[in-house]
């Protein structure tokens, strides 16, 4: 079985969660989308997913959550071998400078999206980050070429020597 790649969305406001999911529907055919409304629930989902061979490619995470906050969750993920490669994004209006700096330094935050966001921006960021994830973590990136950054994946094939004449 080919490992599945998940996109995890953590957001406590149902309407916001819905609109994130709606904006990235085009990725659903190739990636599994999972949702959580608290960091604690996200942790459970992360454990379930990574128990087998499956991978979490991207997390889109709100900062202000009931209980543990988003930045803490991302830092935890960075410290876990299995979720270290996961591309980490904050979607928030309320993270202060200090916490954002912490996320960048300690959770290798890849992007900070301020609310409200534009759909095209979210799609572009998702595509770029998933492309990088697939190139670095997946042996055979061909099945993802169509949905992700085709040019980048083709160039990766050209330079990495991952595929050869047989």
């Amino acid at each position: 079985m080919k490992p599945k790649i998940y996109i995890l969305i953590v957001e406590d406001e149902p309407e916001v969660l819905d609109s994130i999911v709606r904006d990235i529907t085009e990725f659903e055919e190739h990636f599994e989308v999972e949702m959580a409304d608290t960091a604690e629930e996200a942790e459970e989902i992360i454990n379930e997913i990574t128990e087998g061979e499956n991978l979490i490619g991207l997390i889109l995470c709100d900062h202000v959550l009931p209980g543990k906050n988003g930045v803490e969750l991302l830092i935890e993920m960075q410290q876990n071998e299995k979720t270290k490669p996961t591309k980490k994004v904050l979607i928030t209006g309320q993270a202060g400078l200090e916490e954002t700096v912490k996320a960048v330094n300690e959770a290798d935050l890849k992007h900070y999206i301020a609310k409200p966001w534009k759909k095209s921006e979210l799609v572009k960021i998702t595509r770029n980050l998933l492309t990088d994830f697939v190139i670095n973590q997946v042996k055979d990136p061909l099945p993802y070429m169509q949905i992700l950054d085709m040019e980048k994946i083709a160039d990766h094939l050209r330079t990495s020597g991952g595929m050869t004449d047989q």
Binding site: M145, Q146, E151, D155, L157, T164, D165, Q166
Partner: protein
């Protein structure tokens, strides 16, 4: 482990045991052992129970253990005088492997300094903006590059060039399909043109070398390049016919900058010089495998090609080819190849019919199997046919080698037929159905031309 792989594992092991249990009349003990290895290799290669290069390594290992003078079996008192184990392992330094090594170093260095991409931009310029000629241009450039670089790497590179072009066409324009199909097809076709174009050529040339035939780089091109050029034009016509572009103009934006550094210039010079020396072998007499050491030596001693680059070379392809060559040696040395050939009533068939059978089987097999594997399995039989006098003399041997090598490369029906096909289908622009239609026509026409060439072309120049 998937069901296919498991089936392969069981069949392979059972197949390996058959010649050890059943006695075939007229076949010696070493012949039986070689048959065990042959069956195991064929099954593992077909079912891909283990990666195809690991099967090649296993072949060499089993030959050393079972068939060499240093192996575990005592052949004294038998007619067979076992070859030293070096014979089997030395295939990894066979002149043709060194030729490929030189080619790999050149190609990887070209990628490192973006020579392949910049070259493409320059070569595409004269083809203008008419989609018809852009497609011809794409095909010509792809074919030329893939004659000297890997077909797969060339395809991947061309896809990066083509994506901006596709972005400028309407989603419904059939030009998208013809462009996306033109690249893998041209890459497959271009590979036949030179000895280093694609691995099956290597397996065949090595087998012919072992029969004492030296094939010059330029001679191979003389035999095979006309077919490549002809088929390239045919594929172009066919794609335009099947998927005629709707738009009249595709504006090309071919900006690019040559990498300018002493190392990049070193590469440009060495690349040009090596190719010239290869093509002009008949003028200076320096063998192509010796010329191949030039890029390896110069690029490494100038640090143009560094340690990390050496590690990244596709070594497994060299193992794959070496295993194929080594299997051929074992089959010939133990008399297995002759025995197999002798057990079929070839004289019932005419000479042309015989070549056609080899060509068609090669074409069909390599649509499903790796091209190199197909060539490795078929060339020992082809060579035996020639040495047993059924197809007549050195020219006959050369012709049957060409038929096998070229037929395997024209298998491009399915996405799994070749890695370039797989890449093209993965773009989502091409449907498998389109590939099957065009690929089948190209395969059938190529087969026809190859048969005609045996009679009306190679026959006269060999």
């Amino acid at each position: 482990m998937s069901k296919t792989k498991l089936t392969g594992l069981i069949l392979g092991i059972v197949g390996f045991c058959i010649p050890l249990i059943i006695q075939f009349p007229g076949l010696s003990l070493p012949g039986h052992l070689a048959m065990s290895i042959f069956i195991l290799a064929a099954v593992f290669w077909m079912f891909e129970t283990i990666p195809i290069y690991s099967t090649s390594i296993l072949v060499i290992f089993l030959e050393v253990v079972l068939l060499s003078a240093e192996g575990f079996i005592n052949f004294s008192g038998m007619e067979y005088s076992p070859v030293p184990y070096q014979t089997f392992i030395a295939t990894l330094a066979d002149p043709i492997i060194i030729l490929f090594l030189g080619g790999f170093v050149l190609a990887d260095a070209a990628v490192k300094y973006n020579f392949d991409k910049n070259m493409t931009r320059i070569l595409l310029k004269p083809f203008g903006q008419d989609p018809k000629y852009i497609i011809l241009g794409l095909m010509a450039v792809t074919a030329v590059l893939s004659a000297f670089m890997s077909n797969t790497a060339t395809t991947a590179m061309m896809i990066t060039v083509v994506i901006p072009i596709l972005a400028k066409t309407e989603m419904t324009d059939p030009a998208r399909v013809s462009i996306a199909l033109s690249i893998p097809f041209a890459a497959n076709i271009g590979g036949v043109a030179t000895p280093i174009g694609t691995p099956p050529n290597a397996v065949v040339i090595a087998a012919l070398n072992q029969q004492g035939m030296n094939i010059e780089f330029g001679s191979w091109m003389l035999y095979a390049a006309p077919l490549a050029v002809g088929m390239l034009f045919f594929a172009w016509f066919l794609l335009l016919k099947l998927h005629p572009p709707a738009t009249k103009v595709i504006p090309l934006d071919l900006k690019g900058k040559w990498t300018q550094s002493p190392k990049a210039y070193t590469l440009y010079v060495v690349f040009g010089l090596t190719v010239i020396l290869w093509i002009t072998e008949s003028l200076h007499g320096i063998r192509s495998s010796i010329v191949a050491l030039l890029p390896v030596a110069v690029l490494t001693l100038t640090n143009t090609f560094e340690k990390e680059d050496i590690r990244k070379l596709p070594w497994e392809v060299l193992w794959l080819i070496a295993g194929g060559i080594s299997l051929g040696i074992a089959m010939k040395e133990t008399g297995l190849a002759d025995w197999l050939v002798g057990s079929i009533a070839w004289d019932q068939m005419s000479y042309l019919m015989l070549l056609a059978v080899f060509g068609i089987v090669a074409l069909m097999l390599s649509n499903f199997l790796s091209n190199t594997v197909t060539a490795s399995l078929m060339i020992p039989l082809g060579i035996s046919l020639a040495t047993s006098g059924i197809v007549g003399g050195p020219a006959g041997m050369m012709i049957i080698g060409l038929v096998i090598a070229l037929s395997t490369s024209f298998a491009m029906v399915l996405p799994i037929s070749t890695p370039p096909n797989a890449i093209a289908v993965s773009t989502g622009v091409v449907k498998t159905k389109d590939m099957i239609v065009a690929g089948t026509i190209i395969g059938v026409v190529a087969m026809g031309i190859i048969i005609l060439m045996t009679r009306f072309y190679w026959h006269y120049i060999l």
